[in-house]
Amino acid sequence: MNATNMLFLDILLVIALLSLAWATLTATDARRSVILFIAFGLVLTLAWARLLAPDVALAEAAIGAGLSGALLLAAVQHHPRRALSSERQNTGKLANEKQNDSNPADLKSSVAIRWTLTLFCIALAFVLIWALLQALSSETSDTLAQSVSANLANSGVSNPVTAVLLNFRAYDTLLELAVLLTAVLGIFALSEQRTGYLPAGPVFNGLVSWLVPALILMAGYLLWVGAHAPGGAFQAGATLAAAGVILRLAGKRNIGLPVSKSYLNIILVIGSGLFLLVGLTMLALGRPFLDYPPAMAGYLILLIETAAMISIAATLILAFLGGRPRNREDRSC
């Protein structure tokens, strides 16, 4: 395809992104806003694919559009539909007599906060534009990308993204997993899980019966393919979690999580735990922390990613549950 056609596609993508973002922010109904946000995520996925960043596109589709969308929809469902619109009316109709009983000082401060935020966002946008222009005008040295490709042979994988995430910058990924574990603590501290959904009818059950195995298979594929092509633990974990979300929507009881609480704890910790263990083993062997021997690196990365996938999936499913799982006597399904 020639450059003019691509430019046309780019302009279409940018217009779609900007208008969807605007529509998401200005929608008066929370549910409509969430659905527009999901559409925004899908167009953003296309944009990442167009920018030749399939790893980011996969993550955006699975986590940004899919799971965040499901979480937001579940959150909207448990709140009255007018939550967003009534707030909008408050600020819109300042002179309205209904507002008489509310404190005018509150309203004034909320308007002030709104303006401060707007000014802050505009300033931030200008800084970003300036940074982008700087980056575009400076010499394209790309030393980081060059050093990654120079050392790729020693990383144990041939996909540069996985090499960076699990080998060169393994510290960051370990800390990300720790952040996820902290999020689980937050979820556990919130409350018990929300009440489930009604059991699904035959059509939805039919969909579930093939979609869930297909998603599990796809998660395994994404995990395996991460070594030499776009994929990896986060995408695979999100795919597994999607299977859990579908099971929950279909009204199944144990949505892929173990019944016993101790097993659940093991599953949640295994990602960061195994990662840490591998790092400490390297220390014990006299190497720097998380510095794998090149001959073993491929196996170690696969091991860590498998454990990380399980923990990530369980964390995301727990987020969708919205609280710690109830003690379930009924062990069917």
Binding site: G201, V203, L207, W210, L211
Partner: protein
């Protein structure tokens, strides 16, 4: 020659998508909108993917496209049914 056939297939697929979108915007109620959207888009996607497969002339690529089409078919028909059923329950409850 094959490229002309591929282009024709893709173009007719796009026409089906266009019809589906017009139906979504113009038809009066939820059921007829669902009807327009799912039927037209499923066929449109099929034609589009058939055109793409012909254009690439790669068996594995074509198989992947067929897999995508089947998954979309099953998911969209099931979700159309679920949306319609939900709306019908809401209507009868009222």
């Amino acid at each position: 020659m094959i490229e002309v056939i591929a282009a024709t297939l893709m173009l007719s697929g796009l026409i089906f998508f266009l019809c589906g979108s017009i139906g979504l915007l113009r038809l009066p109620d939820l059921y007829s909108r669902l009807h327009a959207l799912t039927k037209a888009d499923n066929l449109g996607l099929g034609l589009l993917l058939a055109g793409l497969a012909l254009y690439q002339r790669d068996l594995l690529f074509a198989l992947k496209l067929i897999l995508i089409w089947l998954a979309v078919l099953a998911a969209s028909s099931a979700s159309a049914y679920l949306i319609a059923q939900y709306s019908r329950r809401q209507d009868t409850d009222r």
